[in-house]
Amino acid sequence: MWRLTPGQALACREWDGEAVLYNDLSGSTHLLDGAALDLLLALRDEPADAVMLAARLAERFDAGDDNLVSLIDEMLVALAGLDLIEPC
C-alpha cells in the first residue's frame, strides 16, 4: 500500500497533459506526466495499492492494457523516489 508523504499539499498546475508539481517537503518542482499526477490525486483521499489504483483510474487509463497494474507499480516507485509518496 502507498500513501502521500505526509505534508504534501499537491500544489500543481496541468497544461496539455503535462503537469508541474511543487513538492512541499523537498522544495523541488517536478515535471510530471498527466498520468502520474492522476495517481497522486487518486492517493489524496486514502492509501491504495496498484490494483486498487488501476480500478480507481480505469476510466482515465486504458483499462484494456494487460500491463496496467505493473505500469502503475513502476510509476509508484518513481513517485516514491521523488519523496511524493511512501509505502504504508
Partner: protein, 305 residues
C-alpha cells in the same frame, strides 16, 4: 524633477564622494558613493534621464564603489564594491568600474528584492503586450533587446524581469542594456542612433558596452505591463527564422531554471510562475537576421489575429 543630467559634473562628483547620489531605478532607490572617474563618466552618460531623489529619504540599496587604498592606489588601481558593509565581489581593475556598477546593481536586486519573482530575462512591451525573453548565456537576448528598442518597443528590463507576487504584473526596471563582444558592432551598425558607453575590454565577460535606455522607457518606469508571451531566443548563424510553441509545463520548468529566487520563494514562487505561464503564450525562437526578427516580434505585439 531633478535628474542626473541636470547636475553639473562638479555637483555629481560632490554627491558621489559625499553622502551619496540617490538614484531611482524603477521601484528601487540606490544610494551610490564613489570616487572612481570611469564610473562617474559612465553614470553621467547612461543615467542622464534618471530621477535623483533627495538625500535623507528611504533607500533600498546602499552601494559603495571606491578606489583601492595603499600602494594599489597608484599601481594597477582597483575598484572595490561594498554593500551594507559587506564585500561580495572581488575587486576589479579601475577601468571596469562602470560595468561593475551595473553588475552590483543587478546583484542587489537579485539577492534582496524578494517581493518579486525575478527571472533572468529581458522584457519589452509594445501595444500593451509584454514579451519576456529568458536568457541562458549566448542566447542573443541583449542583442535582440537592443535592436527591438529601435523599433518602438518599451524597455522594462534587459536583465531582471520582475513579476509582482501580489498581482502578477511585470514591474519595469529600465536600465542600460549590456552588450558583449560582437554584439557591440552589430548594434552600432543596426542602430546608428543608439547611445553606447565606452567599451571596456578584458572583463570576465569579454568586451562590454552598455546601450542607453530609451528616454520614454525611463519616463514610464512606474507603469507596469501585462505578460503576453514568453519567448526563448536562440541566435544561430544562418538559421531560418522559426517560432515554435513550447508546451507550457516545459516552459514553466525552463523559466524556473532562469529565475534568481524561485527556490527562495518556495510555494509563493510556484503560484506566481504558474499564473505567469497561464497568462502567456510560450515559444522557442531561432533566428539569424535581425530585420526578420523585428518583423516577427511586430506580429507578436499585434496579438492573436
Amino acid at each position: 524633477m531633478l535628474t542626473v543630467g541636470s547636475l553639473s559634473r562638479a555637483e555629481l562628483t560632490a554627491r558621489l564622494s559625499g553622502d551619496g547620489l540617490v538614484l531611482r531605478t524603477g521601484p528601487f532607490t540606490n544610494r551610490i558613493r564613489s570616487d572612481v572617474s570611469p564610473l562617474i563618466d559612465g553614470l553621467a552618460l547612461m543615467y542622464a534621464d534618471y530621477p535623483v531623489e533627495p538625500a535623507g529619504g528611504f533607500v533600498d540599496f546602499h552601494l559603495e564603489l571606491q578606489r583601492s587604498g595603499g600602494l594599489r592606489r597608484w599601481h594597477r588601481s582597483q575598484v572595490h564594491f561594498t554593500y551594507d558593509g559587506t564585500t561580495p565581489f572581488q575587486p576589479l581593475p579601475l577601468g571596469q568600474a562602470y560595468p561593475m556598477l551595473e553588475w552590483t546593481m543587478n546583484w542587489c536586486v537579485s539577492h534582496r528584492a524578494h517581493g518579486y519573482l525575478i527571472i533572468h530575462a529581458a522584457v519589452l512591451e509594445k501595444h500593451g503586450r509584454a514579451i519576456i525573453l529568458p536568457a541562458p548565456p549566448g542566447s542573443g537576448k541583449s542583442t535582440l533587446t537592443a535592436a527591438l528598442l529601435g523599433h518602438g518597443w518599451r524597455l522594462l528590463s534587459d536583465e531582471l524581469t520582475l513579476v509582482h507576487l501580489g498581482d502578477g504584473v511585470l514591474v519595469p526596471l529600465p536600465r542600460p542594456v549590456s552588450l558583449k563582444n560582437a554584439s557591440i558592432d552589430i548594434i552600432r551598425a543596426f542602430r546608428p542612433d543608439a547611445v553606447l558607453s565606452r567599451p571596456v575590454e578584458e572583463t570576465t565577460k569579454g568586451t562590454i558596452a552598455h546601450l542607453k535606455a530609451p528616454q520614454d522607457s525611463i519616463a514610464r518606469a512606474l507603469e507596469p505591463a501585462k505578460p503576453a508571451c514568453i519567448v526563448f531566443p536562440r541566435w544561430e548563424a544562418g538559421a531560418a527564422i522559426a517560432l515554435d510553441p513550447l508546451p507550457k509545463a516545459r516552459a514553466f520548468m525552463q523559466v524556473a531554471d532562469n529565475c534568481f529566487n524561485y527556490q527562495v520563494l518556495g510555494a509563493r514562487g510556484f503560484t506566481a510562475l504558474g499564473a505567469l505561464i497561464d497568462a502567456s503564450d510560450t515559444y522557442t525562437f531561432r533566428y539569424s537576421s535581425l530585420p526578420d526578427a523585428m518583423a516577427l516580434f511586430e506580429r507578436l505585439a499585434q496579438g492573436p489575429a
